[in-house]
Symmetry: C2
Subunit: 235 residues, 2 copies
């Protein structure tokens, strides 16, 4: 947090930071629980994740309202202003991470009939561990404000992407082997995509932190591309 | 645009509005062209959409930079501040609409081998017409600033959703009928989902316009839920 002399303003920035941290914790939890619900066909846990989403939405609105009031009241410049605009952006990314958890949770009932094949369940769990580690790290960087670390997280999304692509191929294989797997695997494909998008949002947040800290956008192409779009291309 | 006495500030707001309109036009075009490329297996058009995405990204950064400078320099209050924060949000939604077009375009090569079955092509075209109509209307409302109209667009996402769900079921059927359709249909499922998300972004923009105009969030549950999550649920 940049240094300045208005204590009331400090309090307002701290409030935004605290809300962002809370949203981050809830977003992680929603994604982790959605995967657990999916793998264990736990409808009650899925329902909890779905209802947690209203808490997320309310938190994002609160951050938005407070940010606007703070800008209007304090008329901050430069780093202070970036701090507030950054909070708005991060709140929006975290709200969407929560949406990913909610969307996974809503698919629990649809895969309950067949259950999730063990090997695919392992793959989804592993993918979500990777994505959640990245989200956790980026939320830590939000507290410490290391531009260097933000940039290194941003450059590391490839690992998630490679794992997502291999899982994507595996799911296609399951579907081809037995048409009875098609409905379940289609839902799992979307779940895997949701989790891959959690990694994208972590990348967005890393870019926002870099911007908040330095006032600049990180250079170089964003590494967050989904390469499954090429699966099936005749080579 | 709210009335006030600073002409230079007016110019800056007009600049943001013009940029948003340009981004809106490009976003529409990218999605429409991506669908055309998909249906006609047109790799060159797909490549154009993919490279248009860098224009979108640059436009979003420009809106972000100008918005921050304007806030810092003019220290606007209330409606003027909401105007600028709203522009930031809308630019972010439009950039993501462009991403949806890009993601569709990247799947063109993967479905080229089998081509897109005629009936599914029709379905995707129809879905994208609906979503693009909604996007166009919401961009018109951005110019006219009718809170009432913004609210009515927001409440109309169900039609897109119903069509998406029926297309989703149809694609599952194609896959079940012939495993050779699985790879292509999986890509088409993601394309349909991308288009459905264009409708979600239009809904977001409608909410932002309502907020810019009234200072309040529209009441009532958001209607933008994806109901395909329940396909396969045993009833």
């Amino acid at each position: 947090m940049p240094a300045h002399i208005y204590t009331a303003f400090d309090e307002e920035l701290k409030y935004l930071m605290r809300r962002i941290s809370e949203m981050g914790g809830l977003a992680e939890q929603m994604v982790a629980e959605s995967v657990r619900a999916l793998v264990n066909s736990d409808a009650a846990l899925a329902q909890k994740v779905i209802s947690d989403d209203t808490i997320m939405d309310a938190a994002e609105r609160d951050v938005g309202d407070k940010a606007i009031v703070t800008i209007a009241k304090r008329q901050p410049m430069a780093a202070d202003l970036r701090e507030i605009i950054g909070a708005l952006r991060i709140a929006s990314d975290l709200e969407r991470v929560g949406d990913m958890g909610k969307n996974n949770a809503k698919r629990v009932m649809a895969v309950q009939g067949t259950g999730v094949p063990r090997k695919l369940a392992r793959g989804i769990e592993h993918l979500s561990e990777l994505a959640l580690t990245q989200l956790k790290e980026v939320l830590d960087v939000y507290t410490t404000r290391s531009a260097e670390k933000a940039k290194s997280i941003r450059d590391r999304d490839e690992e998630i992407d490679a794992m997502y692509t291999s899982l994507f191929r595996e799911m296609l294989t399951y579907m081809m082997e037995d048409p009875r797997n098609i409905t379940t695997c289609t839902h799992l494909l979307f779940c895997a995509k949701n989790i891959e998008r959690v990694g994208d949002h972590a990348t967005n947040i890393a870019e926002t932190i870099y911007y908040m800290t330095t006032g600049a956008q990180p250079e170089g192409e964003r590494p967050k591309d989904d390469t499954t779009t090429a699966v099936g291309v005749v080579e």
